[in-house]
Symmetry: none
Subunit: 234 residues, 2 copies
């Protein structure tokens, strides 16, 4: 991630935080307006101090990307430059799919990248935003690109879900039979010619949840309590 | 987007800006700490004033999502709650693929959603972040979810099949309240110090199916029959 002439150190800190959230640590700065290092960056980084400490400063964009094989320029507006324009998603795929190091350029907060900066890039990276309200700030642009990049990383795997599997069918059947007996007693099934349809409706409804064995046991406890209440009053 | 007990109005403004960047405009607030409307939100919204002006305030999460068929709870930590966990990408697919309105809950800046808030949701939404440095702020979480949602906007597909959507949350609440009253009468809740945990377990279990309005009505009929049987014998 290459921040080109960033104005506020606070935004450098926010960008560092956004990067580290998604496992990126290599930050390069081109002529930060207020100098570097800058104490205002630390608090905004919320603990991403290693990224700030490792940040390297360059005098020009050319020097900052000298060792990179792929350079992306993040811009919102079209620049009249004829280059491929990709989304963050597509950029992440390109970065992963090709050998060599990639650099992503982000312009100054107020003005964005200059045409000369963009000229150094092979590809334009544009975040597709609401055409009626385009107002991404620097850290937001960084986080969206970092987020897309991280999807290909190990950390981006969906968190393990220790959801219990649905109970075996016989346990479900036991619960349905218990309810059915209570409903027969309670006179729920009428008129008689609708019994089989109603039973099927209830089975569909109770099969839909995919309740686990534990959940089926809980429901049977609920039914027993309702039945017990009835009997104790009978 | 539902911000639950947000602390700083500035963060409400930032969330509004993040939303509008990706074409989302409906913001709901649950008990914002510093009241609403709040002049501190405006500057942070950077022009997303229509979102702020249209924000609706609710006293509880339940009221805020009463008309929603799908409720997602955004959390980072695991909660010991057995619900499906999805990424923002997967959530966006689910939101687009199924009929009915969706709500996405975001917790307070410092503490995140409470267990009782999470209990109202069918699905947990987790942004996969660097396990060694997890530090997403409120607006960042909002922008990532909004960004993923916006990807499907241009190529919005027709809703899948003709499955009835889950009943609005208030209908589900009505059914749960009916059962709860019967269980209180039946002495189901004991010992007393376990009541809130048991209630939460039941809510999770009854939220899981995603029953349609028709199915919820059927279940209420079942409950009424069980209750009627009890009363006629009392």
């Amino acid at each position: 991630m290459v921040l080109v002439r960033p104005q506020l150190a606070e935004n450098i800190g926010k960008a560092a935080r956004a990067m580290l959230n998604f496992g990126l640590a290599e930050l390069r700065l081109v002529s930060p307006r207020d100098g570097w290092p800058n104490p205002a960056a630390g608090p905004a980084a919320s603990g991403a101090d290693t990224v700030l400490a490792g940040a390297r400063v360059f005098a020009s964009v050319g020097e900052a990307v000298a060792d990179c094989a792929h350079v992306f320029a993040t811009t919102v507006r079209k620049r009249g430059v004829t280059k491929a324009v990709v989304t963050p998603e597509r950029a992440a795929t390109l970065i992963r799919g090709e050998p060599g190091q990639s650099a992503i350029l982000f312009g100054p907060e107020r003005s964005g990248l200059e045409t000369d900066d963009v000229a150094l890039a092979r590809t334009i990276l544009t975040v597709p935003i609401n055409p009626a309200f385009g107002s991404l700030n620097l850290a937001q642009a960084v986080i969206l690109v970092a987020y897309e990049w991280s999807k290909g990383e190990a950390l981006a795997q969906p968190p393990a879900v220790d959801l219990d599997p649905p109970a075996p069918q016989e346990e479900l059947d036991g619960m349905i039979a218990q309810l059915d007996a209570m409903l027969v007693t309670g006179g729920f099934y009428h008129p008689p010619d609708r019994i089989s349809t109603t039973r099927r409706t209830l089975r569909t409804l109770l099969t839909k949840p995919g309740w686990s064995s534990q959940e089926v046991r809980t429901m049977r406890g609920v039914l027993a309590a309702l039945d017990g209440a009835k009997r104790s009053r009978a």
